[in-house]
């Protein structure tokens, strides 16, 4: 009996907390993807690279002598600018074409490849490290949790709530939801639709960037770091329902818990098959994902 409790306390609980700190970062990534999809109908294949650029942004700014905190505050702003320019300069160009689904998919895929190569050229292919700005651990219910992970959970959690409030409780959010549902009608009410698109894309890219900065001290930073991570985010978005915010949050937290708990029992090799197995099962049961699109609910 007591050994079971010990197991819960010393094995399962820490694993769940670790999963949760990765989970909030995955949710931030997935929110970016799902909001961009929900409004623009664009599957942003470069999202993983934007995440990597966020992490490298932190590396670069810290290299310039800034503190981690400044990097955390500035990187998302720079990422938003990058996102805005990408939308305005590239995506907008093919947006009105008839095959825009294919074109935007290929375009963002290409942007991702280019960005990855740029990172390789500028920073080299070797992994870099970002020191955690908070060290030590805190004792909670007889367990020690790394302070930085607690910090990531707190900041990530706050950001998720902030995104929620922004989308569902502000007039800006109402504009985005209206545009996601019916861009023609919202334009006829004066909503500057192409600027809203660019700003929303920028916002999603900034979220990926924040995610990259937050996880930089936990993982190492390398040019292809976004690849695996974006796959998780994509499965989260597909399971949660393309375009759904509620779905991204729930599926993101659940999937990362499944991953971290299952890794206690099975080899990490099975991580991806498990993830995609769940995705396939959910899709067989509910092809539209758990929840509906951004504009609908």
């Amino acid at each position: 009996m007591s050994s079971a409790l010990d197991w819960l306390q010393f094995v399962l609980a820490p694993q769940m907390v670790n999963g949760l700190s990765i989970g909030v970062a995955v949710v931030l990534m997935a929110l970016g993807l799902t909001i961009i999809f929900g409004l623009l109908d664009v599957i942003n294949m470069a999202h993983g690279e934007f995440y990597a650029i966020g992490a490298y942004g932190a590396v670069a700014l810290i290299g310039l002598g800034m503190s981690f905190w400044w990097a955390l505050a500035l990187t998302p702003l720079l990422m938003a600018v990058l996102g805005y320019v990408t939308e305005r300069g590239l995506i907008q160009r093919v947006f009105h074409s008839k095959d825009r689904h294919t074109l935007t998919l290929l375009l963002t895929f290409g942007v991702g490849i280019v960005l990855e190569d740029v990172l390789k050229i500028v920073f080299g292919a070797n992994p870099l490290r970002v020191e955690a700005p908070i060290t030590g651990a805190t004792e909670l219910v007889g367990l020690f949790f790394p302070n930085y992970r607690l910090f990531v959970m707190a900041v990530g959690g706050l950001l998720i709530v902030a995104v929620w409030v922004l989308v569902f409780r502000t007039s800006l959010g109402a504009i985005v939801r209206a545009a996601a549902f019916d861009r023609y009608m919202s334009a006829s009410l004066g909503v500057p639709i192409s600027r809203v698109y660019a700003a929303t894309f920028a916002f999603g890219v900034a979220l990926a960037g924040i995610s990259g900065v937050l996880l930089a001290p936990i993982y190492s930073v390398f040019p292809t770091m976004g690849r695996d991570f974006v796959l998780i985010a994509f499965s989260v978005v597909i399971i949660g329902g393309m375009g759904s915010i509620k779905g991204a949050v729930l599926a993101g937290l659940l999937l990362t818990q499944v991953q971290s708990i299952s890794s206690l029992f099975i080899s990490p090799v099975w991580n991806d098959p498990l993830l995609f197995g769940i995705m396939v099962l959910v899709l067989m049961w509910r092809p539209q994902g758990l929840y509906g699109k951004l504009g609908n609910a």
């Binding site: 109402a174 209206a178 023609y184 334009a187 006829s188 004066g190 909503v191 639709i193 504009g295 609910a297």
Partner: protein, 235 residues
Amino acid sequence: MLELRDVHSHYGLSHVLQGIHLRVEPGEVVGLFGRNGVGKTTVIKTIAGWVQPTRGEIVFESRILSTMSADQVSRLGIGLVPEDRRIFPGLTVEENLRLGFMQAPGVGRAEQKRKLEKIYQRFGRLAERRDQMGTTLSGGEQQMLAFARVLTGAPKLLLIDEPTEGLAPMIVEELFTLMRELVDEGISIVLVEQNVHAALELTDRFYLVERGQITFSGDAAEAASCAELVERISV
């Protein structure tokens, strides 16, 4: 105030508007009549900027609309009450209304609040339901919301597409009263309406659309042209 000169529009390869000429003077109500599928809604959409004309010119208060986007058109003071109302689901009545403020940017919060209260005075049923989701309203209430939403801007010209479709006679009556009030307030209207008799009471002039062209036009005050219009539609 508005003029269409030889306007052509396509949906892909199908050539829907084939040279539309029409004119709206300040303060005028212009009726746009015709049978199903002749292109009335497409005329409205082309003016509103949803469809880019492939040829011809649309001029509003000496500005050329033909190449403007829908949001630019709306900010010039051209408001739209679209076919099928197009209320945003997932947005409350009030959120739907507030969206209309984007038509006239630069209006301060206090002014917006005042405007909203005026709208609620005029549309009492919307006031009672301000926190309800827009799409949970009845058809008639949704049509009222579509009018109220566009009126939160300051439209000089309203494009109104089949406002009474599928609604009970009492509500139809109410909508015509509302439109008459809007005219009295100095708003010009382009009205598409199946109920030709009721519409002719409101309109100053009318156009008949057939196969993407204006084939007949007249003065609503002249009994003879009205009779001809009715005959040509009902054949």
